[in-house]
């Protein structure tokens, strides 16, 4: 096996990197891929919580880098999904505890045993981010339909290009089709036009995500959730499959459709 390193990054914090990392890990593993997720956010670790594996941490990536344990000892196996592992970050240290070359070395050691090594990048463009993209074969940039998030994504894409880790691909997270239609939210088209990179996924706003994150049960395990489906689709696209994008515009439901018909007299849509 020659595993590929997939780095999830965004620039801005709170756009959903960790949630997406956890769910892509779950989704890829559920497609019989062997996956290890690495939490790159040393000092502010979260990935273990989102995956519901917090209470099983013994060693972390800093222990590996500093030689206190073997790589295998720091890997936590997810008991729910066959083939999913986590290498947690240290909570008591900071980003400087690991260097970009450490990350490359750790990932190279993991490649023979895994199909995918997913690195969850911290927010920002400093050391933690540099660590996360150093080993990357593929980079997924996450943004929200907000001006500030898009601006940061643009900056990140520029750095990824400069580091020749690209071409980065784009995930637009937490889009609300109703707000977009009202003109209150930046549309997918506008974001893609500005960032000018390939779009690999659109994840709709879904309150189920918060519930599942809090419970440590990744949403991708929930087949009914739109966000879960979108994440499953991204995982399939990552493996090279062509999957059509989800139809999100009918989210408003039956009543809204009726409303549209009745109000169509004067208003112009599309």
């Amino acid at each position: 096996m020659a595993g590929k390193v997939l780095t999830i990054t965004s620039g801005k914090g709170g756009v959903g990197k960790t949630t997406i990392t956890a769910n892509l890990g779950v989704a890829l593993a559920s497609h019989n891929q062997k996956v290890v997720c690495i939490d790159g956010d040393i000092g502010l670790r979260n990935l273990d919580v989102v995956l519901g594996l917090e209470n099983r941490i013994v060693y972390d990536i800093v222990d590996v880098v500093e030689g206190r344990c073997k790589l295998r000892q720091a890997m936590i196996r997810d008991k729910r999904i066959e083939g999913l592992f986590l290498i947690p970050a240290a909570q008591t240290r900071d980003k400087t505890a690991v260097s970009p070359s450490d990350m490359i070395r750790v990932c190279d050691e993991l490649r023979p045993d895994f199909d995918w090594i997913i690195v969850d990048s911290p927010a920002g463009i400093e050391r933690g981010f540099r660590n996360a993209i150093a080993p990357a074969d593929h980079v997924l940039v996450v943004t929200n339909p907000e001006v500030s998030a898009v601006r940061d994504a643009d900056r990140i894409i520029g750095i990824v290009e400069a580091e020749e880790k690209g071409p980065a691909r784009l995930i637009i997270n937490r889009i609300d089709p109703v707000m977009v239609e009202r003109g209150d939210m930046i549309s997918t088209e506008d974001i893609v036009e500005l960032l000018a990179i390939e779009l690999i996924g659109i994840i709709p706003e879904d309150s189920e995500v918060i519930i599942s994150t809090n419970r440590g049960m990744p949403i991708a395990l929930n087949g009914k959730s739109k966000a879960g489906q979108a994440l499953q689709n991204i995982a399939r696209r990552v493996t090279g499959e062509t999957v059509p994008f989800l139809e999100l515009s009918h989210q408003g439901g039956f009543i809204r459709q009726l409303g549209k018909i009745f109000s169509s007299g004067g208003s112009k849509n599309e």
């Binding site: 601006r151 900056r155 750095i159």
Partner: protein, 227 residues
């Protein structure tokens, strides 16, 4: 010299056009002229325009050998006579020009124009990128919000300009900013600062310049004569 021989420089080398008369005499006067101006002809690629004259292959061949002794290569023979042309082809000589020879004479005007110092950036400037240059700046791509351009002269963006741009940064009030979509976060010309008024998507190329101390953006009009 009774037989007229015209010599003209062409892109393929020299074009020698011979006049009317008996071929052997013309041939001799051609050789005489080459002999007389050996320095001029030496190393030249020669194309011979023999007009109506009908010349045998052996004759052409010996002519080719004779002039090659003077360091001249006979590249081709142009003729109105089908036979001569056929013979030239047999000898492996060209019988036409590679491209049509424009019938132009006289000296050309000097048409070259000297330009100003400028840099061309063939990529999109993303947030955090910046360009600073004392001359003009030309961007072949977009300028995204968060990117900055600082130019001593004009700024031309063949794309969407949405970042911050400063033209005439060293005080040149005649500096201009042109973009296919002019919607910068902030636009400065010399000491004057302006911001783009919020509006619908702009679909026209625009030019911004200073007019009575104010930045004015005008839609670039193909039919309007520029100053």
């Amino acid at each position: 010299m009774t037989h007229k021989i015209k010599i003209k420089g062409i892109s393929e080398g020299l074009l020698v056009t011979v006049g009317e008369g008996e071929w052997p005499e013309i041939r001799q006067s051609l050789l005489d002229q080459i002999q007389a101006q050996a320095d001029f002809f030496s190393g030249a690629n020669l194309t011979l325009n023999v007009g109506e004259h009908e010349i045998k292959a052996a004759d052409l061949g010996s002519l080719r050998d004779q002039i090659s002794e003077k360091g001249i290569m006979l590249r081709g023979v142009i003729s109105k006579s089908a036979r001569t042309e056929e013979n030239a082809k047999t000898l492996g000589l060209a019988t036409h020009f590679d491209r049509p020879q424009p019938e132009r004479s006289g000296k050309a005007f000097d048409t070259s124009v000297s330009g100003d110092d400028a840099i061309l950036v063939q990529r999109t400037l993303r947030s955090g990128n910046n360009i600073s240059y004392p001359g003009h700046v030309i961007i072949l791509g977009d300028v995204n919000p968060g990117a900055e351009i600082l130019a001593g002269g004009n700024v031309i963006v063949w794309g969407r300009l949405r970042g911050t741009v400063h033209a005439g940064a060293s005080g040149d009030e005649s500096a201009q900013v042109c973009a296919l979509e002019l919607a910068p976060t902030q636009l400065r010309i010399a000491e004057t600062i302006s911001i783009t008024p919020p509006s619908k998507k702009k679909l026209h190329p625009e030019v911004a310049h200073l007019k009575e101390g104010q930045v004015v953006a005008e839609v670039w009009d193909l039919h309007k004569t520029k100053k």
